[in-house]
């Protein structure tokens, strides 16, 4: 870890003319913004600003919770909503903090990048006059080749080395600053990746019931919910159709916890022939321009209603899982077109039919029949209430097709006409002679279809971020200097005429192991010299001993 100075102010130019105060203010603010202290404060603010988003329900995570919150706090919720508290991570205040932080970041790394490139291209600085003033210092007998030999053995150890006459300067550990810059630059790229995804990405959610009749094709209207980035239009969606052929789920015998899921589908991509494919939780279906994720599953009971005119309609209706382990489903089969007189073609709005209730894949032996005991279909049972009347579907009020509009029931436009438990194959004859048959069930799955053009960039930048971080944290920049000096004859050295080497070392980062490294390096440089000496059959071994 370097103890870096906050960027020193550039040397002030001679104040020839009065500086423009506005400009000076601007320059000062910029310097403030790009200081490490400011970065620190902004980082801290960012952490604090993320807290509300985890405490309050968020629309992007769970819209129902937000609705519940509004119901529970009718006074507070609108106020919070106005300051963006339910979309905290897209709010003005959150964005302001991270945009300032990234501005500061860019302002900080650009000049450092320039300096670093310059440092990479320049040579290590000249040897200082007083080597004994450096944190590390040593004197030893010069190897045979003098400065050149020292430089050679340093280069072998991958030091960046320069020889200036009798002096050698070497530096190592540029990786630290390189890594640090790579890390900070990667942060910027991560942000770009996120931005790309939210501008050009889209997603849609829907249910898909098994069977050829229920296939869906990728258009915006086919989804129950969609999120489209501001730069995407519905025409940009890739064309493909998807049919669920089969869905398999296995559960633990002991407690009904899910063990594995697998959806088998037929994909019909634009321009290709239909092909089978499989996907499951953790391994999405990756298509050209979209990925399909499996988010949930359940059962869609298939019921046939035969009206007073003998016309029958069949509908597989997904009963949405209520969230228990036994996969109890809740839903409604609506027949708005029931009891249309085939002779006149006129519909009597008061004779529409709806059946709501629960589906229990494994019903208990005795009532109440409200909770399934196991998620597979061991004792399937429909527990239904029949309604007759105006379902309110034509009124233009948007409502879910899987739900009976409660308002119609409350206002008395729809009346309850009976309740019944139905096993597969059983028929329920209602008071007016019409019949409901429970034919069986089809599995359904909950899908999320998504496209995120920033994901590759995110992955790559996450990788470089990590590499840079490690380089930055574990790299150590340090310099060593060597000067070959004639051994002082007046000191009574027995080897007058031979030379000594004075060495110094300077860790440029806080590096407790540097003393050891320096000692080893000095010994190694001496040793290498000795080996060279032996190789050269030079007879100056005595000189070494004398010096030691």
């Amino acid at each position: 870890m370097t103890v870096v100075d906050d960027r020193p102010a550039p040397p002030a130019e001679a104040p020839r003319r009065r500086p423009n105060p506005a400009l000076a203010l601007l320059r000062n603010s910029w310097r403030q913004l790009t200081s490490m202290r400011t970065a620190l404060v902004l980082l801290f603010l960012l952490a604090v600003a993320a807290i509300p988003g985890s405490v309050l329900p968020q629309r992007g995570v769970n819209p129902e919770d937000v609705r519940d919150y509004f119901a529970a706090h009718p006074d507070l919720a609108p106020v919070l909503d106005r300051i963006g508290a339910f979309e905290a991570f897209g709010s003005v205040w959150f964005s302001a903090i991270y945009l300032l932080l990234f501005t500061s970041l860019i302002g900080c790394i650009t000049p450092r990048l320039r300096d670093h490139v310059r440092a990479l291209r320049s040579q290590p600085p000249p040897v200082p006059k007083r080597l004994d003033r450096l944190p590390q210092h040593a004197v030893f007998a010069a190897p045979t080749g003098g400065a050149a030999a020292i430089a050679a053995s340093l280069r072998r150890r991958r030091w960046r080395t320069v020889v200036r006459g009798d002096e050698v300067s070497a530096e190592k550990g540029y990786l630290k600053e390189t890594g640090n810059l790579l890390f900070h630059a990667s942060l910027v790229v991560v942000l770009v990746g996120v931005a790309l995804g939210s501008w050009y990405g889209w997603s849609g959610n829907r249910l898909l019931v098994a069977g050829a009749d229920n296939q869906f094709c990728n258009t915006k209207q086919q989804y129950a919910e969609t999120t489209f980035g501001p730069r995407v239009s519905s025409g940009d969606l890739p064309r493909f159709c998807l049919r669920l052929d089969d869905f398999e789920a296995t559960f633990l015998e002991t407690n009904g916890q899910p063990e594995s899921f697998n959806a088998r589908v037929t994909v019909d991509e634009d321009g290709g022939t239909p092909r089978p494919a499989e996907f499951s939780v953790n391994s999405p279906l990756r298509l050209d321009g979209a990925n399909v994720y499996l988010l949930g599953h359940g059962y869609a009971p298939v019921v046939r209603y035969t009206d007073r005119f003998g016309n029958s309609q069949t509908s597989p209706t997904p009963f949405l899982a209520t969230g228990d382990v036994g996969l109890t489903g809740e839903g409604a089969a609506l027949f708005p077109d029931a009891n249309v007189d085939p002779a006149t073609g006129k519909r009597d709005p008061n004779l529409q039919m709806a059946f709501t209730g629960l589906y229990l894949p494994t019903a208990p032996q005795e009532g109440p029949f409200v909770r399934s005991e196991f998620p597979t279909e061991r004792n399937p049972l429909l527990n239904l209430v029949a309604y007759r009347g105006n379902l309110g579907l034509d009124a233009g009020i948007p409502g879910s097709v899987y739900e009976l509009d409660e308002r119609q029931v409350r206002s008395g436009r729809v009346k309850e006409v009976g309740t019944k438990l139905l096993k597969v194959g059983e028929t329920w004859t209602l008071d007016d002679g019409t019949r409901l048959e429970f034919l069986g069930t089809e599995p359904y799955i909950v899908l999320s279809v998504r496209y995120d053009p920033g994901s590759t960039l995110l992955l790559v930048s996450a990788g470089t971020l990590l590499l840079g971080l490690m380089g930055s944290l574990f790299g150590r920049r340090r310099r060593v200097f060597f000067r070959v000096v004639p051994a002082d004859p007046e000191n009574g050295s027995p080897t007058s005429g031979s030379s000594l080497v004075e060495a110094g070392g300077l860790p440029r980062t806080d590096h407790p192991g540097f003393a050891d490294e320096f000692a080893q390096l000095v010994a190694a440089v001496g040793d290498d010299g000795q080996r060279d000496e032996r190789a050269g059959a030079d007879d100056r071994a005595g000189a070494r001993e004398g010096a030691e």
Partner: protein, 325 residues
């Protein structure tokens, strides 16, 4: 196997508890070096030491020197016994993890209980490595064994969950990578929080504060050494944590269709990451005092705890698989 695991955990807690007592004995008997050095310092003048050293420097008679040496030897012995017990505790603890993993037929980190158990083992194993490299930090062991006793006992008493297999979303290759690295990083952050707190107390003590929490630091290693250890551990854990969060995002993309969705657990990981980044930053900023930086590290650990306990208990989200409802 499951019962064996539970028993081993109980024995491990016991070992940590006795290790803590043994460390406390060493602590109470004082520092071998101060004691041994006492007579020498006396020649220079009893007033020279700080108030903390007075006890050690006052006795002057020949007999007391021998007694002091004996006490010092006893203190040292207590310290070594404590380290040995910590190692025994760590072995039992490891045995419990292995047994649990065998019983469940998967890695032992599928719920909060197992998470805490594994994370704290990483912490104690890391501590033994630190001790091996820097034996002079031994007396920090008092705080560490205290943390271990509290954490493992809490896991056992509050979080205990019987063995269940994983739900499919958790049953993936990336899950193993994500959770193992999160556990590992959390364990090191846990270990790192100990010298961080110790440093805050010790540096207060060295600045002459003699009120309650600071006096505990009287016999701790020097502030500078504690600070250095705090940094080294954080610098080691931070990239691991970063990797773990990235692995989590990769997994979330495959399982839920988005790499990042600001679910409470993700949000708190983000908060912890930013605070720890702030700590490393602060430590590299010369105008920021080391105390302030270290407070950030402590805050970072508090946010990790919040993520582990608070989020699992108070918030609901996709990550709510902790096993306690």
């Amino acid at each position: 196997m499951s019962a064996l695991s539970d028993q081993l955990v109980s024995f491990a807690i016991l070992a940590y508890l006795v290790a803590m007592i043994s460390h406390a004995v060493e602590y109470a008997l004082g520092n071998s070096r101060t004691r041994a050095a006492a007579p020498a310092r006396e020649l220079v003048g009893a007033g020279a030491g700080g108030p903390g050293d007075v006890v050690a420097t006052v006795p002057a008679a020949e007999g007391t020197t021998a007694a002091a040496e004996r006490t010092a030897a006893r203190a040292r012995l207590a310290g070594l016994v404590a380290v040995g017990l910590t190692a025994v505790g760590a072995l039992l603890h490891l045995g419990a993890l292995v047994a649990r993993g065998l019983a469940a037929d998967r890695m032992p980190w599928g719920n909060m209980y197992e998470f805490v158990l594994t994370g704290s083992w990483i912490g104690v194993a890391g501590w033994l490595v630190v001790l091996w490299r820097r034996p002079q930090l031994r007396r920090l062991g008092l705080f560490l064994s205290l943390v271990m006793v509290l954490l493992v006992a809490t896991a056992e008493l509050v979080l205990y969950t019987p063995i269940v297999p994983l739900v499919p979303a958790l049953n993936s290759y990336w899950f193993v990578i994500h959770v193992s690295t999160i556990v590992f990083a959390s364990g090191i952050f846990l270990l790192a929080a100990v010298p961080a707190v110790a440093f805050l107390m010790r540096s207060g003590y060295e600045q002459g504060r003699r009120s309650f929490p600071y006096t505990l630091a009287k016999r701790l290693p020097a502030a500078a050494a504690l600070e250095r250890l705090t940094f080294v551990l954080h610098a080691f854990a931070f990239p691991v944590f970063t990797f773990a969060v990235i692995a989590g995002a990769i997994w979330a993309e495959a399982a839920w269709g988005r790499p990042w969705g600001w679910d409470p657990k993700e949000t708190w990981s983000f908060i912890s990451w930013v605070i720890y980044a702030g700590y490393l930053h602060a430590r590299a900023t010369p105008s920021v005092k080391r105390n302030v930086a270290t407070w950030l590290a402590v805050l970072g650990f508090a946010s990790m705890l919040m993520n582990l306990f608070g989020v699992n208990i108070f918030f609901e989200g996709l990550h709510s698989y902790a096993g306690i409802d």
